[in-house]
């Protein structure tokens, strides 16, 4: 049965509290996974595992997140490509590629100054909720 936005949000919040050892109050929609909640690279695999478990309702049909779909794992390779990044700035081609790979992120702020340093700000709690909503939401 499809889940409401609130149900999805609560489950994602619980997953992030357990995976990152933060308080539920810190897990706000705009909170950035790295900068605000302290996520490190290995935590993203942990989050994926915990989401899969939390959103599995029938053990016979486990919910699976395809590799790279929620957290693109080839960004370092991508960002070494001169077509996409020049002098630390992300080129229009790079931006288009990022948007293609991260359709669940909000680019409004990032569009104003798309640099490598600020790229991790694209991964917020809302990104995860949007992704999950697209999979199991109403």
């Amino acid at each position: 049965m499809p889940m409401s936005h609130d149900e999805v949000y609560k489950k994602v919040q619980g997953v992030l509290v357990d995976a990152l050892g933060v308080d539920a109050e810190e897990v706000t929609p705009k909170a950035k996974l790295r900068e605000d909640l302290g996520a490190e690279s290995i935590d993203f695999l942990d989050i994926v595992f915990r989401l899969e478990k939390a959103f599995t309702t029938d053990p016979a049909k486990p919910f699976k997140i395809p590799r790279g779909e929620l957290f693109p794992d080839d960004l370092p390779t991508l960002m070494n490509d001169e077509r996409y990044v020049k002098d630390g700035k992300i080129t229009p081609e790079g931006l288009a590629e990022l948007k293609k790979r991260m359709p669940y992120s909000d680019f409004t702020e990032f569009d104003k100054n798309p640099t490598m340093e600020t790229a991790s700000s694209l991964l917020t709690v809302e990104t995860v909720v949007n992704y999950m909503q697209s999979k199991v939401g109403q």
Partner: protein, 164 residues
């Protein structure tokens, strides 16, 4: 000293679960390091025992082709002290497994059955490092699984008994 914190497997179901046994002996040096005159097994080494049990389970799931490393201790809750003479049973179950790694739910008891005293509950996450650290180079050979670790599993599977 050898860095082996389990003595043998007593159950092993590929890609699913494993149970290993550790007999705690007063002769082991580490028991005496925390408190003088009150030997206990350090919690960190109980976690290591679970990591070895679960690490072999995760490694075997892909026929030891991956370099499996302990990436994260999600939770470790301890319920009682472990003293000389205790026999620990490490029950490890794969919760999630994919090409990038695995997560494990582990329970440690001072006995073989579910009614035995609960020692610890431990959640671990393992990473297949070649799949997760893009650009980082590691040696070709699988340095994680030494012969000692593989022998533990081999002995269980062959039911190794040496007749006198």
């Amino acid at each position: 000293m050898r860095w082996l914190w389990i003595d043998k497997f007593v159950e092993f179901t590929s890609r699913t679960s494993a149970t290993a046994v550790k007999n705690v002996s007063l002769a082991e040096e580490h028991l005496h390091d925390l408190y003088p005159d009150f030997p206990i097994m350090p919690h960190s080494l109980i976690i290591e025992g679970m990591a070895q049990t679960a690490g072999i389970l995760v490694g075997e799931a892909r026929n030891f082709s991956e370099k499996v490393i302990l990436a994260k201790i999600g939770r470790a809750t301890f319920h009682r002290l472990v003293r000389p003479g205790d026999t620990l049973y490490y029950f490890a179950r794969i919760s999630q497994l994919n090409e990038a790694g695995a997560s494990i739910e582990g329970v440690v008891r001072a006995g073989a059955d579910a009614a035995s005293p609960l020692v610890a509950e431990i959640e671990l996450m393992f990473s297949h490092i070649d799949k997760n650290l893009a650009g980082a180079a590691f040696p070709e050979h699988n340095f994680v699984f030494s012969d000692q670790f593989r022998d533990l599993l081999g002995n269980y599977r062959s039911g190794a008994q040496i007749p006198l």
